[in-house]
Symmetry: C2
Subunit: 383 residues, 2 copies
């Protein structure tokens, strides 16, 4: 509790535009109602499963307030996100603190604000939670392969089923409430069957502990629910059906309470990044289109061309051809799509608007404070 | 000139720590005097060459003021950087606007503030500068291989010698002043001989244009001057000697005025990123050390493990062993060194300080606005 309490306020920016004339582009056009609709669609696809919106995907306070009003719970990763969720009107019991490795004083801060559910994935972290949030409930995170996801998770977090059993037994010994298991199948997961293996592994942990007298009750199915983006994806109902099937198969009559932590699946398609063409330059046989938004103003997920956003322009309808798409900073890393070029209108020119769809998640929050002197990506709400 | 004028102010942050108790770590400890000393060392190594500090590397206003006071000029990439350099006391003639692709209104803004020297690399951009800054001086950027650099430049910028000849002739026709040629050998360039090829290519452009009556006079040798970091690098004098030798060989008695644009070479070793160990976790046979600073709080250049910072800890001196070094956010990309692990003390533990050396460049400015709710990396000056 001696720790400072950072407050997320996207309205404040270290790069201060001249108030007489704010820059027109780039900006994120965010449709909060669309995000709420995506929340409702996921809730319908997974009846009986609590939806905890992953604040990290887009912490816009107006978005959080709207989701809270619609009945959504929250997944938080830091004191600032705890504060943001509670400020949006959430009750502390609607929060899961899912960052598996936390600063001790951050756990204490969350506990003092009433948060009672923490994810751990090691004996070390379990002891830390027991110290900083005595008696709290814990979920132990299992490692997964990340196969089938566009932004897979590494070995950074998660443990084996045997380690999870040890961790949850240790939690009980330390006076914590061993509530259940969590896992994450990787962000932008295109395969609904990706949940099969982790659900089976979770069921083993539940069974072994049940046999030794510890009754787990909660299964955190993580995030990974995708946005359509350029390649499309199965509908939420396909994910709901696959998950229900695997829960029934592996848990039978011992079916636990479940929760999910979607971020992208709720907010990505509610956002459109509006950019402007700075220049079209022909380099040898290659057409380069330079935008005023790039890797350092929100489009980090294009690194390695991992995430491909659908693109619309002012000139759609005519002839198109391939081009490399690059950002405005003089850093050569600031190239969005080069290995696989983008098909854009041949008459696209300086000053034209380019709209990157499905950009509501992991853009404004990934912006730099102002690299090259270009301001962070602002948000404009539409309804 | 209708464009807004963003102002870089690192003291303002979208994540507002509780003023009663600012977070202790992470932060960048910046020794401005050390940066000034590095500037002087480069100036001594390259007598007669103007040093334009690349503001993008670290735009701290106190750093800019100190460099300006020592006689350093500036390399800028945006209106905010123009404003920052002029606010630091620079005269407009001490600025080179080196971003090869610019927003038209940004060129006009810079011209209105008195900036007269712009880099271009295409016919399109040349026409834009002629329109927005009539009569300005231009340098045409050549493409280079980037070989030998840790953070190589892509094909994003630069043209062939023949294209450069066309661009500079076009500039003259449009009423611009064709001043010379620029190139960039790639950031953190470890090979002083990397300048050989581009200097030879530049000399060809100078010669061809001289023969047709256009007298170029200025050669921008770019940045790339390295920091020692983990692997060490040749001293500034080795770069100075190689560059002088290649200038003499290729330009002979037609030696142009020269300038360089060092960023990292001036400020990297003036900075130390001070972080704290959040946790040490054993995952199978691997020791994971989690810090409170990571990819999203300034350490972007560790992506792909491109840049390796030397590391000191509170526990140095005893036995060491390999570990994976990871950042605090729950994003799995937030891992600093995993493929090639880091050797750190075996008794390193939660709460210990870890100091990443050579982090004065491309850290504070690469910080996100607050991903996961963790604030951007603040700067503390030491003297």
């Amino acid at each position: 509790m001696s720790r400072s309490v950072p407050v997320i306020d996207p309205a404040r920016s270290p790069v201060v535009p001249d108030p007489r004339r704010p820059a027109d582009t780039p900006y994120l056009r965010l449709h909060v109602g669309e995000a709420v609709e995506r929340y409702r669609r996921l809730a319908r696809a997974l009846p009986g499963t609590a939806i905890h919106y992953a604040v990290k995907a887009n912490p816009d306070p107006r978005l959080l307030a709207a989701l809270n009003g619609a009945g959504c719970s929250f997944d938080v990763a830091s004191p600032a996100e705890v504060h943001a969720a509670l400020t949006a009107g959430a009750v502390p019991s609607a929060l899961v603190y899912s960052n598996p490795v936390k600063r001790r004083s951050d756990i204490a801060y969350a506990a003092a604000r009433g948060v009672r559910l923490f994810v751990v994935d090691s004996l070390e972290e379990t002891a830390k939670v027991a110290d900083a949030a005595p008696g709290a409930s814990v979920l132990c995170r299992l490692v997964t392969s990340g196969e089938g996801s566009d932004w897979p998770l590494s070995r950074k977090y998660g443990c084996s089923t045997q380690q999870a059993i040890d961790v949850l037994r240790h939690a009980a010994r330390l006076g914590l409430d061993p509530a259940g298991v969590s896992f994450h199948v990787g962000s932008q997961q295109r395969d609904p069957e990706a949940w099969a293996g982790p659900i089976a592994a979770s069921a083993r942990v539940f069974r072994v502990l049940r046999e030794s007298g510890i009754q787990l009750r909660l299964l955190d199915l993580g995030g990974g629910f995708p946005a359509a983006l350029a390649e499309g994806c199965p509908p939420p109902s396909a994910y709901g059906a696959a998950i229900q099937r695997h829960l029934a198969r592996h848990f039978g009559r011992h079916r636990p309470r479940t929760l999910i932590e979607p971020g992208r699946g709720i907010v990505a398609e509610a956002g459109v990044l509006v950019a402007e063409v700075l220049a079209v330059v022909h380099r040898g046989d290659t057409r380069w289109v330079y935008l005023d938004a790039g890797v350092f103003t929100g489009l980090v997920e294009t690194l390695g061309e991992a995430i491909r956003y659908p693109i619309e322009t002012d000139r759609d309808g005519g002839r198109t051809g391939p081009c490399v798409l690059a950002g405005p900073t003089c850093d050569s890393v600031d190239v969005l799509y080069e290995r696989t070029m983008v098909d854009l209108p041949l008459d696209l020119t300086e000053g034209d608007r380019v709209r990157l769809l499905g950009t509501g998640a992991y853009t404004t929050c990934y912006s730099t404070v102002g690299f090259n002197g270009f301001p962070p990506l602002p948000t404009r709400l539409v309804s």
